[in-house]
């Protein structure tokens, strides 16, 4: 376990964290502002990836496909908002769970009807397909750097938007007392629609950005959804800052756990049981982390005020 290796694995962990943040950002925003459990976030992520693949097939240019897929994601999100979500604001969380679960079933199987069950793929755009040398024999793809940049961009953008703009102010006010904001003459329904549409677009965006390194397949959003929930719960629901820090924590814990659990266990036990126990512990680590954080801080690390 050399120092360089530890350093690179730490970088890998941070990168996974940023990736998770990208997915979780929209979820925590919608959840925090509208007190809405949107299980469908994962399938919206999936849909973004599928739309990008579909548009890429037509226009053969990644960036045009990206823009088109984003717009389509937004349109679809607004349609969903109009048909379903709008009627569920202020309803019990259980109702939201079941309705969005229904949407998961519909979309997971809907994309299969449209695009088939076989995994699809989206190539990395040519201009960004290069790689930098990180250590002898190991290249670091430029696209991953783009993803990291996108993650930081989204984090900074959201932070500025929520903290310094009028709409951000309304979002914060709406989160703590929607009725009061509405009484002050603000169209809260419109506000919620905008936030929801934006959240959907963020989900779609993360799906598009990650598609070139992952398999695009039905159900690809299900496990991601769970990870995203873990992130926002550790961070404190509704807190962008919390989600960012929690995502980095999970990325680090997961990556370092996978890389070194066996080596560390070998210090205290024989190699063969270490090989058995290590990976099992590594898979559980993020859940252990979540349980510990919630035990110590039952509302996450950075609970949003006023709830």
């Amino acid at each position: 376990m050399s120092f360089t290796l530890l350093l690179i694995q730490t970088l890998n962990g941070l990168q996974l964290g940023v990736l998770l943040f990208l997915i979780a950002a929209g979820l925590t925003l919608v959840f925090g502002v509208m007190d809405f459990i949107n299980l469908a976030h994962g399938v919206q992520y999936m849909l973004g990836a599928y739309l990008a693949v579909a548009f890429y097939g037509i226009v053969d240019n990644f960036f045009i496909a990206l823009v088109l897929a984003l717009l389509a994601s937004l349109a679809f999100g607004l349609l969903l908002e109009f048909l379903v979500f709008r009627h569920l604001y202020g309803r019990d969380h259980l109702d939201q769970l079941m309705a969005t679960f229904g949407i998961i079933l519909f979309l997971n199987h809907g994309v299969r009807e449209l695009w088939g069950a076989a995994p699809l793929s989206l190539p990395v755009p040519d201009a960004l397909s290069g790689a930098v040398r990180l250590m002898p024999g190991m290249l670091y793809p430029v696209w991953r750097i783009v993803i990291i940049a996108a993650g930081f961009g989204v984090a900074a953008g959201l932070y500025l938007l929520v903290t310094y703009t009028r709409i951000g102010m309304l979002v914060r006010a709406g989160a703590s007392n929607a009725r009061m904001v509405s009484a002050l003459g603000v169209n809260i329904e419109l506000l919620f629609m905008i936030v929801f549409g934006f959240g959907t677009m963020l989900a779609g965006f993360s799906g598009i950005m990650i598609a070139p390194i992952l398999s695009v397949e039905p159900g690809m959003g299900d496990n991601i959804l769970i990870l995203a929930f873990v992130v926002i719960v550790i961070g404190g629901i509704g807190s962008i800052r919390g989600a960012f820090i929690a995502a980095l924590m999970i990325g680090l814990v997961d990556t370092l756990g996978r890389s070194f659990s066996v080596d560390i266990l070998r210090l205290v036990m024989a190699p063969s049981p270490a090989r058995m126990v290590g990976p099992a512990i590594a898979s559980m680590l993020i859940y252990v982390l979540m349980a510990v954080v919630l035990y110590v801080r039952p509302s996450g690390l950075f609970p949003a005020r006023g709830r």
């Binding site: 019990d92 259980l94 629901i237 919630l294």
Partner: protein
């Protein structure tokens, strides 16, 4: 949780008689008659379907106990089912194939796990509770997949169903069916009694306003913990039944998707009604069996149905039936 939960009992002041006696009685009579129906149609597999419905109904009723009466939504209940099932599987592999041993172990282990995790989980509320129960469910799932000695993720075949006091009483599917039936009936009556007792009133009070209940002098967390442990134990019972019915145990029984399905069953039927959980389980599994026979990609249809139930039928199927007989409310 906001106060927006609208259960059938709140919207519809239906006669208690209908709600608490006739409706459940009809459900259980219908369930008791399934073997007859299977015989008449010479459709033996209906027995299996019915058993499956009742097994999940046990778990769904257990879940409704904490969802409907404490406002605690657990996304880790499949973990208890798996724990109960693995108790049967492992004991049977080690030569203990009698229900006198496996049943107490299945239920006891689940209750113990519920106690240990409940102490931690109950520090949180709302969505945090959902997620922390998920975390424990996932941990036990990963432990099961790494149990190489007992098949790991390939699962474990059970040589034969449990004996009862040394006798092969549940050898036939029919006997097993009625054993499951009795356990479901017992579970239902037990939970019914529990929620209408003083204990249950404290739980319900705590769900509506925890602060008020605490002010009166009840330690609401302790009450909730007891309910959580009971619920876990009953889910373990469901696992015991599932293992005996499929004669096979697998980590797949503990996946979080399964926990999600249980929640859907409870909501589908009607939260906070107990018998709604039975109806929900039946409706979920029967529509699954029915739709999947009609269209391969049946979930494309089933998904929107769930959405519609939420949008247009508050209070689940129980809510619909309540509205049907009291349209003016």
């Amino acid at each position: 949780m906001s106060g927006a939960t609208i259960t059938a009992s709140q919207t519809v002041p239906a006669p208690r008689l209908a709600r608490e006696i006739i409706r459940p009685a009809l459900i259980f009579i219908a369930l008791a008659l399934v073997p007859l129906l299977a015989k008449l149609l010479s459709a033996q597999y209906l027995l299996d379907l019915g058993s499956r419905v009742m097994i999940f109904a046990v778990a769904a009723v257990a879940l409704d106990l904490i969802v409907g009466y404490c406002g605690l939504v657990s996304l880790g209940h499949a973990g208890f089912i798996g724990l109960g099932a693995y108790a049967v599987g492992i004991l049977s592999a080690e030569g203990f194939g009698d229900a006198l041993i496996s049943l107490p172990v299945a239920v006891g282990a689940s209750m113990l796990f519920a106690l240990a995790t409940g102490l931690i989980c109950l520090r949180t509320r709302g969505v945090y509770f959902i997620m922390i129960t998920l975390a424990f469910g996932q941990m036990i799932y990963f432990i099961a997949t790494s149990l190489a000695l007992y098949g790991g993720d390939n699962g474990l075949t059970i040589a034969s169903r449990n004996t009862i006091v040394g006798l092969p009483l549940i050898k036939t599917d029919l006997a097993l069916y009625y054993m499951i039936f009795l356990f479901l009936l017992g579970t239902y009556l037990f939970c019914r009694a529990l929620v209408s007792s003083r204990f249950g009133r404290v739980l319900r009070g705590g769900k509506v306003n925890a602060i008020r209940i605490s002010t009166i002098g009840f330690d609401i967390k302790r009450y909730q913990l007891v309910a959580y442990v009971i619920s876990g134990g009953l889910a373990g019972l469901s696992g015991f039944l599932l293992a005996n019915s499929t004669e096979f145990v697998s980590p797949a029984y503990m996946s979080w998707q399964r926990s999600g399905e249980l929640i859907v069953m409870v909501i589908f039927g009607g939260v906070g009604t107990l018998d709604g959980a039975i109806i929900g389980s039946a409706a979920y599994l029967l529509s699954e069996a029915w739709l999947s026979g009609l269209i391969e990609n049946w979930k494309v249809v089933f998904g929107p149905i769930l959405v519609m139930v939420v949008l247009f039928a508050r209070g689940g199927l129980i809510g619909i039936s309540a509205k049907l007989w009291r349209p003016q409310s």
